[in-house]
Symmetry: C3
Subunit: 213 residues, 3 copies
């Protein structure tokens, strides 16, 4: 049995906020596909907890996190269903959402890094574990909603996760104390993500239209 | 090593009927996408045994069920290929199919519940294990056929699985003997599902068309 | 801990060539969806190493192969990104690619068979393990790029994997020495695949357009 959340209490709070925000983003995506309330609940669950689930399975880290934390299951399903009622008000909260989502991305990334380090995986696996935790919930959401994952085309998003993981692991290597490391990485990642949204920064895209294979 | 099927012999028979019916539904979906016979066999396999596979992986329950029961692999691949030959006759059997599929849904749900209980997972995980076993084969089928999973939009289906799991666990809590519990849950779930088909009962849907995130 | 690659050094070389070729095919698919460079790297990774990952998880074979071989992760990401630069030259190399891809298919299949045999799974599971290793990277690529997997509709491809697995296991049963077995299976599979491409051999397809379920 492993600790599912790092000891930093602040990160736990942010994690709970993050899965709530992710559940809501899943519910809105389900609504765009006219799903029924069950579909909304499933997509909310998968978006919020799917990234951690894929990470746990890939790392061979059983039991999977949420199976030991039923309260998170209730929370994300409830948040998804609440979104149905509140959807018309949410547009006004767009900016709040983007900040919550950015906080969630970085919290997920740090938690994913930690999970792999606790199991003595190599550094590159810790980085990938962080990114997988951060982005694959959204990828599952998009696959189940039958669209190309937005994370592969949006403003800097996965790159922010990568940046946060590398910064966290570098400061750790330099002997920076865990709580300070977490705070510095969190703040830097958040600023980078918000600047990317504000400036519309994107990675270069690769367009290739020839069909020959 | 865990028992893959519950001890109730009737449930085993229903399970075999169910995976056969699910394999056939997978083969028809593959035919709608003009797949070759290999694709038909894969979709048949995934539809019939994919739900149990996802459940076993999520629960960390290795070896995965079908790897210890090659006869089920042969059965579902054979059923899938037979569907190619018999597809033109199947339309007349529509009502038989719907009943078999409903029986399968509930058998899968009870088997999934049991699997999680045997491993001492919390109750909410047992319910989710039942639903995952019941519906995720069909979700995989739809994702591989590049469409939004019908289970998120159809008449009461996942809800029937949820109902059966909750009824089963409640009666178990009340001390009802296992075989009686299974029979009662099975009959109740089947009636609910057939009434839902007959009456066209659906869950309310959530439609949300704004794009702002 | 299990050996990730068979002892035959030739197969290791072919494996490295194969994951490189698969990574490039993934990158081109990502380019057709106008993904950013991060998306290209992810699809390259998933196409090249996703088949082995799914196999390892299904077999309960932890830690998953690539987590113990960071060099493969670097290789496939690098190959994917290099493809962005070199895409315009690649059309001329079409025939080279098809041969590399065919070699990879068979190498993956033999490695997958071996992995299941080492864990004492039944023969049918070894065959499926070989096919899953061979084809599911491409299936993941196509699902993430939101299209029906080409492997279900293309010229003999999965069938070649099936043929190679059965031949390999039959010769093994007959007591043929491992290196000779590998060489014979490899050559036979490669010839079959290249003849299928050259002759445009396809499996019969199943077209079913009625909607009634």
């Amino acid at each position: 049995m492993y600790s599912f959340l790092p000891s930093v209490p602040m990160l736990t709070v942010i994690y709970v906020v993050a899965i709530t925000a992710e559940a809501m983003s899943g519910a809105l995506a389900a609504g765009r596909r006219n799903m029924d309330i069950f579909g909304v609940a499933v997509i909310a669950f998968v978006t919020a907890l799917g990234g951690g689930t894929i990470r746990d399975i890939l790392l061979g880290r059983f039991p999977v996190g949420w199976t030991q934390h039923p309260e998170y299951v209730y929370l994300v399903v409830f948040a998804g269903l609440l979104t149905i009622v509140g959807a018309s008000y949410m547009r006004r909260l767009k900016h709040v959402f983007l900040v919550l989502d950015a906080m969630g991305l970085i919290a997920f990334s740090l938690i994913g890094c930690n999970a792999a380090l606790e199991m003595d995986y190599p550094i590159v696996v810790a980085i990938m574990s962080g990114m997988i935790t951060g982005i694959s919930g959204g990828i599952l959401r998009d696959v189940l909603c039958n669209q190309v994952p937005v994370v592969f085309r949006r403003e800097l998003y996965a790159s922010v996760s990568l940046f946060a993981c590398i910064l966290f692991l570098s400061l750790r290597e330099l002997g920076v104390e865990a709580d300070i490391n977490t705070a510095v990485t969190f703040a830097s990642g958040l600023v980078l993500r918000l600047m990317a949204i504000w400036g519309g920064w994107k990675l270069p895209t690769f367009s290739y239209q020839q069909r020959w294979d």
